[in-house]
Symmetry: C2
Subunit: 222 residues, 2 copies
Amino acid sequence: MTLHTSQTIIRKSLHHELVDRLQTLIINSELKPGGRVPEKELCDQFGVSRTPLREALKVLASDGLVRLEPNRGAWVTQVTEEEVEEVFPVLGALEALSGELACKHITDAEIEEVRALHADMIESYERRDLDAYFSINQKIHRAILTAARNGTLATSCQALSLRMQRARYLANMTDGRWFDAVQEHEKILQYLVARDGKQLAITLLKHMEAKRASVIKWLQSQ
Amino acid sequence: MTLHTSQTIIRKSLHHELVDRLQTLIINSELKPGGRVPEKELCDQFGVSRTPLREALKVLASDGLVRLEPNRGAWVTQVTEEEVEEVFPVLGALEALSGELACKHITDAEIEEVRALHADMIESYERRDLDAYFSINQKIHRAILTAARNGTLATSCQALSLRMQRARYLANMTDGRWFDAVQEHEKILQYLVARDGKQLAITLLKHMEAKRASVIKWLQSQ
DNA sequence: CAGCGTAATTTTGAATTCATAATTATGTCA
DNA sequence: TGACATAATTATGAATTCAAAATTACGCTG
């Protein structure tokens, strides 16, 4: 049984629902990086007691989204330069693997899906619609992960992606970087269509490295 | 109630300590794969209430070591063929990366440490002391991870390793496989000493692939 | 008024309680 | 006896309670 399956089964429990909700709050910066997690407030807001909320916080802490300080509660973690330098290489290795596996398993229908997403993404780029661009971008990466047919890989990738999605760093691209990213995605599609796993892996790795550099640059400009 | 002083938990964050303890119980098969997690018994054994124990179970569930069934409690997950086929490729990619990074950062002193561990491991092999062999084997892999200077990578690797360490599958090697594994480790040491990241990565990847095949073979023989 | 020490309040960590779901035990009837 | 329905028991999920720690408020001294 895969991890994904087991998570689907337990979806109904309160604490799991809270994990999802808190993740969303953190990614949308409704809970500010570096800020306190207001336990009581959130309990009131969600209409639950502290027990399931605190269970959810323990899970989020093990995923690195919050930090638990003994007797001082939970704090939203901040994206630091050191963390970015750590996470992107790992994410690169995992995305590279996902590219290789995807080329082995992807169906023609799935390739068409990615092609359609890619076209939409290009259109968003031409409209300079950053929100739409990023939303579709994520869908493409997720589609490749799905095609890789490896739930463990998908879970690991998404956990690390989440950590990088805190705050809006990734959305802050210069015009030049945005253009380059689109070019990289052209190659990604091309190698996926050709089912060239080796080249796709290399391209995804470079893509992640470029993203790392871009995020670091942004962090240093702050 | 009897106080089990030596086992009673004294550290500050109770749930964290419990995560560790439960992991150990699961890895040592003191909690049997596929079996129920006896909440009340464990509470008595550890001298804690259900609240922190249940918090720990939520974390273990998100790591894939237990499965939570609504209204039916926690169950120790079993290592399945499917899971092995998922986890080892991911672990391979991560270990390969750790090898590459380790070659970049490892100090001479650290190399000497690994060399000493390697010698001990060979000695254990010659004595056919499987327990000692595996213990040292893990120390070597951990030393390489440490040398990689990437905490995120280390955490990810260790989480996946844990999932494969449930039950004693890995310890069930044929004589032939054991010999091959030792040969692979000779190459690992050699490339590490030479600080040849590329070759070390390739070797570690192959090492993981061989381990995967060995575990699958064992699972199928059951 | 600033700085410091102490009391009041709030927050946290963990035990306890309580309603409900699941499991087991008991009793009935063919 | 064995299948089934129902009662008793147990376990679970979540709210509540409680002691201890941390934070804030207050008042005193200089």
